[in-house]
C-alpha cells in the first residue's frame, strides 16, 4: 500500500469537472510531479491533498488513514504537511526568522529549540545573514528560499509545491530546481510537485504524472513518459513529437495515405478508427536526394522553413498530404527552403498510439 493514496478523487466547479476520478498511489519518500497544461486540474489536485478543498467524490488516504472524503475532510492544519506557494506567501509583517519559526511556535516548541532549528535551516538554505530582514526587502530567489525553509523546518511528512519556480528568472529557476532535489534527497519526505514545465519535471521527479482535462493521462518515471508515451497528448506534450494518423494494417504497419506506410516497433494499435504514430523530432533522418531503399517508413515533402539553432537545424517539411513534419538535423545538413527532401522515419522510433 502506498503512503499517499488518491482513489477516485473528483472535484467539480459547477458544470466543470476540474479533477475527474483521479487514482494515484505515491510511495513514501518519492518526489512526484503533477505535470500538465494550465487548467488540467493539477493545482486543484494539490489543494485537495492539502485540505484546502473538499472532494466531491473519492478519498485521500495517508498511511492508510483517511484524511479527505466528501463531507469528512480533515483541516489542513491537522495533516502534518507543508506547502510552498506560487506567490511564496511570506508574511510581510514578520521578519524572516519569525516567518520560519512560525510552524515551530505552533507546535509548542521551547524558544532555544526553535532558535536552534531555525538557525540550522537558514544555514542550509544560505539565508543566515537575512534572518532579521522583512520579506519585502528580499529578492525573488531569496524569498523562494525562505518559503522553502519555512516549509521544511517543521519536518513535514509530506511536502507540497505549487509551481514554486514560475516567478523566478531562467537562471535562478535552474539553480532552484537542483536545490529542491538536493533538499529532498537530504530529508526524504514525500513530495508532490505541481508544474507545467516539463524540463522542471524531468530533472526533479522520481515519478511524473501527466494530467489533462482533469484526468491522469499517464504516470511513470521520466524515462517511461518520454520513451513510451501511451497517448497522443503525452507524446505531444512531453518533448514534442510528430504525429501521423492512419489505419492499422492488422500486423505492424500504419497506412497514412498517399502511399505512406509506417512500420512501428512499439506501442499499441487501434483496432477501430485511426491509429496515431508518433516520432520525436530528432529521430527523423532528412535526405536531400532520393535514396535507393525508399519505401516503407520513407516520405517526401518540401522544406517550408529552416532555422539555424547553433548546434542543430530545425526543419519544417510539408508532405504531399498537406501534413507537416518537424525534424532536427545536424548543423551540416543545409537545405534551402522550397527544396524537395526525403524523410526517413526509422521503425524502431515509430510508436503506435491507440488513444
Amino acid at each position: 500500500m502506498s503512503f499517499l493514496e488518491l482513489s477516485g478523487l473528483t472535484k467539480r466547479y459547477g458544470a466543470l469537472t476540474a479533477v475527474d476520478e483521479v487514482t494515484l498511489g505515491i510511495d513514501k519518500g518519492l518526489l512526484v510531479c503533477l505535470l500538465g497544461p494550465s487548467g488540467c486540474g493539477k493545482t486543484t489536485t494539490l489543494r485537495l491533498i492539502a485540505g484546502f478543498l473538499e472532494p466531491d467524490g473519492g478519498e485521500i488516504r495517508v498511511d492508510g488513514r483517511r484524511i479527505s472524503a466528501p463531507g469528512a475532510t480533515e483541516a489542513p492544519e491537522r495533516r502534518n504537511m507543508s506547502m510552498i506557494f506560487q506567490s511564496y506567501a511570506l508574511w510581510p509583517h514578520m521578519t524572516i526568522f519569525d516567518n520560519v519559526a512560525y510552524g515551530l511556535k505552533l507546535r509548542g516548541m521551547k524558544r532555544p529549540e526553535i532558535k536552534k532549528r531555525v538557525d540550522a535551516i537558514l544555514e542550509a538554505t544560505r539565508l543566515s545573514q537575512l534572518a532579521s530582514r522583512y520579506p519585502g526587502e528580499l529578492s525573488g530567489g531569496q524569498q523562494q528560499r525562505v518559503s522553502l525553509a519555512r516549509a521544511l523546518v517543521v519536518e513535514p511528512e509530506t511536502l507540497l509545491l505549487d509551481e514554486p519556480l514560475s516567478n523566478l528568472d531562467a537562471n535562478l529557476r535552474e539553480e532552484m530546481r537542483f536545490e529542491i532535489r538536493r533538499l529532498h534527497d537530504e530529508f526524504r519526505y514525500t513530495t508532490v510537485y505541481v508544474t507545467h514545465d516539463q524540463s522542471e519535471a524531468m530533472t526533479t521527479a522520481d515519478l511524473i504524472v501527466v494530467m489533462n482535462q482533469g484526468v491522469v493521462e499517464q504516470a511513470g518515471t521520466p524515462e517511461d513518459i518520454y520513451e513510451r508515451p501511451q497517448s497522443e497528448f503525452v507524446a505531444h506534450f512531453i518533448g514534442g513529437a510528430n504525429i501521423f494518423k492512419g489505419r492499422w494494417d492488422g500486423r505492424d504497419m500504419v497506412d497514412c495515405g498517399d502511399g505512406v506506410m509506417l512500420r512501428c516497433e512499439s506501442g499499441e494499435f487501434s483496432k477501430e478508427g485511426d491509429t496515431a504514430v508518433s516520432i520525436r523530432h530528432h529521430c527523423i533522418e532528412l535526405r536531400a536526394n532520393r535514396p535507393d531503399s525508399a519505401g516503407t517508413n520513407w516520405v517526401s515533402g518540401n522544406v517550408t522553413r529552416q532555422s539555424y539553432l547553433g548546434p542543430h537545424r530545425d526543419y519544417l517539411v510539408t508532405l504531399a498530404s498537406g501534413a507537416t513534419a518537424r525534424t532536427i538535423t545536424p548543423v551540416d545538413v543545409d537545405i534551402e527552403k522550397g527544396q524537395t527532401v526525403w524523410l526517413h522515419l526509422p521503425s524502431q522510433h515509430c510508436r503506435a498510439l491507440a488513444h
Binding site: A50, R66, E77, A89, Y134, V154
Partner: protein, 577 residues
Amino acid sequence: MKSASDGQAAAIDRRPRLRFDLFKPTFFVLAAGLIVLIALPLAWLVYYSVVDPNGVFTLGNYITLFTDSRMLQPYLRSIGMSISVGILCAVVATPLAWLVSRTDFPGQRVVRALVMASFVTPPFLGAIAWEILAAPNSGLINEIYRYLSGAPRADHLLNIYTMTGLIFVIACYTFPYVFTLVANGLDRVPSDLEDASAILGGKMATTLRHITIPLVLPAMLAGTLVAMLQTLTVFGAPAILALPAGFDVVTTKIWSMFQYPPHLELAAATSMPLLVITVFLLQGKSWILGRKGYTVLGGKSGVPRITRLRKWKPLAIAFAVIVLSLTVVLPCLALIKTAITHRVSDVLTLHNLTLEHFKFVFVEYSATRLAMWNTFLLGILSATVGTAIALMAAYMVSRNTVRGSRLLGLLATAPIAIPNIVLGVGFFLSYSQPALRLYGTLWILLLCFITIGMPAAYQQMSAAFHGIHTELEEASRILGASRLGTLRRITAPLLRTSVIATWCFVFVGTIRELSAAILLTTANTKLISVMIYNLNESDDLGAISVLGLLLLVVSFAIIILANNLPGLGRTPKRQAA
C-alpha cells in the same frame, strides 16, 4: 491497527462540521441584521407612500406629488440646482486638478490639503460661515463694503440668501468630489500617451486637447455626477440659505412635512423619486468609469509628464488662491472670528476678544454639552459596530466561507443608493410604530448611522481583504494554525491599518451627519449638527462657530491620525536598531 484508523476517521467526520458551524450562524445573523437595517426602512417607505392617513391604499400621494405645483416646484428647483452645481464644480475643479497633478504649479501639497479640508467641512457649516460672510445686513463682506464705499445701511454687495448664493455654497463643498477623481485620474495617465502625441508633432495645447482631456473626461463626468447627487440630497445648506430666502428645495420640503401637522405619507412619496434618481446617477457613474478604452487610467508607466506654466504661472496661482479662499480660508476665518468676538459685526480688536461663546457651549448651556456627548458617543459606537460588521461581512465574502456569502456584500453596499434624508424618513417610519418604538432614543440614530456608513466601510474592508493574498492564510493553515488562529496571527495584524482607517472614516462621517439626523433627533437626543442648525434659527452664531470649529478640529485630528498610521505593506519600514 484497523480499529484505530476507523476511530480516526470517525473523529474526522465530526470535527470539520463543528468548525463550519461557526460561520453559518454568523452569516445568518449578519444577513438578518443587514436586511433589517436596509430592507425594513425601505419597506415602510414604500408602504407609507401608497396609503392615506387612515391606512387605505391610494395613489393619491403620488398624484399630489406630480400635479401640485407646491410639490413639483421644489423638485424642479432641486434638479436645476444640482445641474448648476455639477457644471460649476466641473469648471472649477478640473483645471485645479490639472494644475496640481500635471504642471510645475508651486505648493501642490498645500492645495491638495486645503481641498481635503473643504471635503471634510460639512456643507451646513459652510453655509453658516457664508451667512456670516455674506448675509445682506450683517455679513462681514457687506459691512466692509459699506465701510469702504460709504454706501447706506440698506445697501449690500452680496446676498447669500438667493439661489445663486446657495449654488455657490454647495459647490464650495462638493467640488472636491470632482477634484479628487480627476486628480487621481491625471496622476495615473501614463506620460507615454502624451509623449506619443508630442513626438507626432502635437503642440502642448494640441496634446492637452486631444489626448489628456479626453482621457480624464470620464473621471470628470463621474465626479460631476457625484457632485450632482450630493447637491440633490443635501439638506443642511438649503435649509440654512433657502428657507430665509423663502423658497423650498426637495429636501427642505420633505423636512417640512415632518413639522406639525405632519404629512408622513406625502413625505414618503416625495422620497421615492429621489431614490430612483440616485440609483440612475450611480448607474451612470459606474457606466462612465467602467467603459472600456479608458482603462489606461489604471496603467502604470513612467512618471506623469509635467507641463511648464511659464508666463501663465501668476494667473494659475491667482486662480487657485481665489478658489481656495472662497471655499476654505474665508469661511474658516469667519468661523474663528465669530467664535472669539462678542458679536459677528464686532471689529477684531484685542478689546473685543472673548471666550464667552466657548464658556457658553462647554460649560453653561447643558443642551450643547448633551449634544456633544451624544455626537461623540454615537460616532464611536457606529464606527465600532459598523467597522466590525463590515469586517465580518468582507471576510465572509472574500474568503467564501459559506454558500451564498456574496449576498452580504450586496446588502452592505445597498445603502449607497439611498440618500441620507430618504433613509431618515424610512427609519422614522419604521421605528415610530407602537410595536417597535425607537424614535426618541439614541438607538434609532445609531442604527441609521451604521447603515449610512456601511457601504464605504464594507468597500474599504473588502479592498483590504483583496489586498491580502489567500495564500498568506493558507500557508499558516498548512503549518498547523487553525482558522481562528490564522485570523488572529496573520490576517488581523495585516488588516490593522485598514481597520483603523475605516473606523476613522465612519466616525468622521457620523459626527457631521445632518440630513438624516434632523428627522430622527428629539430634545433628549440632540446632536452637534442638529444643534448647529437649531442655534442658527435663533441666530446664535458665536455658539455655532465654537461647535463648528470643534467638529472640524476633531475631524481633522482623526484624519491626520488615520493618514499617519505606520504602514504594514509589502515593504514595512525597518525599525531603527
